[in-house]
Subunit: 164 residues, 2 copies
DNA sequence: TATCTGACTTCCGTATACTTATGTCAGCTA
DNA sequence: TAGCTGACATAAGTATACGGAAGTCAGATA
């Protein structure tokens, strides 16, 4: 019914004059980094606390080559970092944990989780994300630096000036 | 450095006992609906205000078959809806606009936009999203229903009871 | 009636994200 | 030193997401 749209400000050049979409759109660039299903479910498990190769394989349902390829790529991109661990009587092996760069994707995953719960399941949420402090459900909301809650129709797009 | 992880509560069964990941994970299900690059850029343009087929083709850089297929699929999924329009001296044609279901994906796209701006570009943000009320930058933050700002380490995962 | 145009569709060909099956390799244990 | 185990790598086949080129089709105009 209602169409949420991003309003353009007067500072903004007409949409047709924007630079080439592919290179300069941060959404498209983000998708190039994490735009596979395997990357999403591996990041999901990393947020759930998985760190070892076999955990990712067991919890994601992905094949071993897919997990290995994604762990390698996500580490190369700096979303995950390897660290050594050693179980008693075993040799040292390496595990993976989220970096700051990877950890800051949490709002993306929570927003997708809440949207999927709301719109793709019939009987309400399967997995609730709750605030550990008070137990209330958590969702991703839009907020500005001043602290205002931002409605979908209160968004302006401004193109920042660069020197390149 | 820091690993943001979702803590599990005592109510939660061990991760290994969870139902099959693919069917019940809302993130994976969401990805099945919008998990292509073309879907993301088409939704992006829909939020920017595009409504007509030729606008989507021109602004996304996608091929015509890709745009047509995605518009059809996103309409079938209920993220977009067709509506007629007519330019003077032309016959009636149909355009597309976001439904409520589609519009509620805005936090996902804003979160991806901000993450990409922060981590994938060298000289800061290319495209700023600002609050039309005060001009401050907007980002997606985690908040609980009680109104608390939720830090990454203050998240609990609870599996809701269902009867299916 | 013939032409034009916007909105698609159809038909290829290609790239890549997956799968399964199998091989490899380090290093701890027996 | 021989075997075992966890963490991968390699090979081959399948599915699908694209792009390019060309065709279709409704309906307004000439």
């Amino acid at each position: 019914m209602s169409a949420s749209s991003i309003h353009m400000t007067g500072k903004l050049a007409p949409r047709a004059d924007w630079p080439a979409p592919g290179d300069h759109c941060p959404i498209a660039r983000t998708f190039e980094v994490i735009g596979t299903k395997s990357a999403f479910v591996i990041l999901r498990e990393a947020f759930y606390g998985a760190s070892r190769y076999e955990e990712f394989v067991a919890h994601t349902g992905l094949s071993e080559p897919a997990v290995a390829a994604r762990l390698r790529e996500l580490s190369a991109e700096g979303l995950l970092e390897k660290f050594p661990y050693r179980e008693p009587g075993q040799r040292a092996r390496s595990a993976y944990r989220l970096t700051d760069k990877g950890g800051e994707l949490l709002p993306v995953l929570v927003a997708m989780m809440r949207w999927g719960d709301r719109w793709l399941f019939e009987n309400g949420a399967r997995v609730e994300v709750a605030h550990s402090g008070c137990g209330s459900p958590v969702h991703a909301v839009l907020q500005c630096d001043t602290g205002h809650q931002v409605a979908p129709d209160e968004l302006d797009l401004v193109q920042s000036q660069r020197r390149d």
